[in-house]
Symmetry: C2
Subunit: 374 residues, 2 copies
């Protein structure tokens, strides 16, 4: 008997499954690696599509296994029964699942005597190092994202400052309108960006605030765009901070510090380096430039998130590059995204995606980082 | 001591969590119901947004709990430690989680002595019965979806038949181009449809085939559109089958049978009725009209899926209306979507969304069901 890998998830929400099968499914499907082969066990609705689209060694008909079980006296076989049967047929008596594996199925399988344990993330460590093909997909997503920034910048350049208001095409420019310029261009090109951040002024102090309402002149506006290519599944993740009009002296100082922090990361990232050490170097650059990170009245301020994270089929994947991390390897693609956030001033964050190499890193993003947009 | 409810998930992928908090989060967050209150435990990145946006009684700062644990001697508290601490503080010693709860967290909590069990779907049975507000959101999604069908129909009417080809705006009409007409209109109106089916001819025989390549005249084209409103989270789910040109006699017969099956469902659906009985009645209508459901050469054909399912924050939610089901209740919104699929002829499926009432049901969809588009 031997060990098997089992995933039970919708591949549309489970990148490990998508990575191994390249098969898009919106409802949970059964994936098994056993006896040197990998396979999907699919119901009649997915069977035909699975046979033609899935990149697996075998596609097993769930209804055929169900019939076998019924013939053997099980009147109402469950999906768990079907999984147990397939595992037995493949000689597997132990099962490894991802940490995200659903408890209900785990408890059912354990109840049927399956020795089931989870493996911590990264479940497939090979996912962290990108193949040439994967790198090409990421670069393509970055190109479209940069084109979306160009559309947003054009919009901001066309925008008129009227006192404390911004006007574009006959109406106040809002986070929602600027976001639509970005998201719609991406969607037209088959990239889905459904949580794009366009957060101005105080809203930018909260790094996950999506932004809403009228944007204002002379205040930093954070634009964080992380679309998924609906054809390839691969993402880009970029951030720029822009001021329409004139930035204050303090925001200019914050911007300079964030750019210096980016440069520290670019200099430090290299195969073999611990990603946590990159983060520490970035934190030191920011501290050395006089910016404190602390919690005041329960509100964190300064630089209080990680320096970056891996990207690929997920926007956030291994390795982390913050308090927790991993040794960097050539072929990893990670974000570099230091930020500074102070109530009364706003937020400044800049984010590029870089490829880790033997000797350092290559920045895959080329879009300019000029703060002020006239 | 008492029982608590615990969810650990990203609300962007977990509708139970979104239902209870109305808080959008792309990474896993901690949700707890204990001592008569519900709360989110959020890290510093989400804290500010959570306090202003989440519809919960309390937002707990994860970093404050972490600090308490460190002060008490735990040098590196995990998220599981933090959950245990919050549960203790609220006097909970037993925990109920959804079946989808991640095994890794479940095993960690059980390892720390938490009595943790899952509850089967529907986790919140009250989700199946829609409030007036939820119904309004679903109706809004349906209106946009019907407007998208109008755009698609206009496209097909503008399309020219040239022999065995369809031409639109100077190029062959493909599944991809017709899908883009639908998806782009929806996205412009803040509805996300990222798996729209436009499957013609043989492709339509596989109910989950999304469709690709040139569409052909005189063949059925299945258009299944199920967008999510990005503002409200609520979906619509509709299907129409169209033939550009003239349908064959057999496809007309299939279309008539599917429409009769819809009518059977509309007549049968009513509060108090078992949804499985609706499905049986629909199956009988189709059989009585001479259409067989069987598997030939490993390929299922006929009517081999359920009659429908609940919709709401998810495209597929309770109650099911197929082999498995539940008693229907007034206020449920379910799809009615019989279909027939035969190699050599193609597929015909028609799908509306209906509101279950005390006396029957109300069809929320008004778009016509004419088969042939001239």
């Amino acid at each position: 008997m031997s060990e098997a890998v089992l995933i039970y998830a919708a591949s549309s929400h489970d990148s490990n499954l998508l990575y191994k099968t390249r098969f898009q499914a919106g409802d949970p499907i059964v994936y098994i690696e056993a006896g040197g082969k990998n396979m999907l066990v699919l119901n009649d609705l997915e069977l035909g599509r699975g046979k033609s689209e899935a990149k697996v060694d075998e596609v097993v008909s769930m209804s055929l296994v169900e019939k076998e079980l019924k013939d053997a006296g099980n009147a109402k076989p469950t999906v768990a029964d079907i999984i147990v049967r397939v595992l037995e047929q493949r000689g597997a008596d132990r099962v490894i699942v991802p940490g995200s594996f659903p408890l209900e199925m785990a408890d059912q399988l354990r109840g049927k005597g399956v020795a089931l344990t989870y493996r911590k993330d990264p479940f497939y460590p090979e996912r962290t190092v990108k193949t040439e093909e994967e790198l090409g997909h990421i670069k393509e997503s970055i190109r479209f994202t940069e084109e979306a920034y160009a559309r947003a910048e054009k919009t901001l350049r066309e925008t008129e400052i009227r006192g404390n208001e911004l006007w574009w095409q006959g109406a106040p420019l809002t986070s929602e309108r600027l976001r639509k310029v970005i998201d719609l261009f991406l969607f037209e090109n088959s990239l889905l960006a459904d949580h794009t951040i366009v957060a101005g002024g105080e809203q930018g102090v909260d790094p996950h605030c999506r932004g809403f309402g009228p944007l204002r002149p002379h205040q930093p506006i954070i634009l964080d765009v992380f679309p998924k290519n609906l054809k390839t599944g691969y993402v880009a993740d970029m951030t720029r901070t822009w001021v329409k009009g004139k930035a204050t002296a303090e925001v200019k100082r914050m911007d300079a510090a964030v750019k210096a922090a980016c440069e520290t990361a670019f200099r430090t990232i290299k195969a073999g380096v611990e990603s946590t050490d990159v983060h520490k170097a970035v934190q030191k650059t920011i501290e050395d430039l006089g910016f404190k990170t602390e919690t005041i009245d329960g509100k964190p301020q300064g630089f209080f998130h990680g320096t970056g994270h891996g990207i690929g089929l997920d926007v956030h994947e291994s390795p982390g590059m913050g308090k927790r991390g991993a040794p960097l390897k050539a072929g990893m693609v990670v974000t570099v995204e230091p930020g500074l956030y102070y109530p009364g001033h706003g937020g400044v964050r800049i984010e590029d995606d870089v490829l880790v190499t033997k000797d350092g890193c290559t920045n895959l993003c080329t879009y300019h980082k000029t703060l002020e947009i006239p």
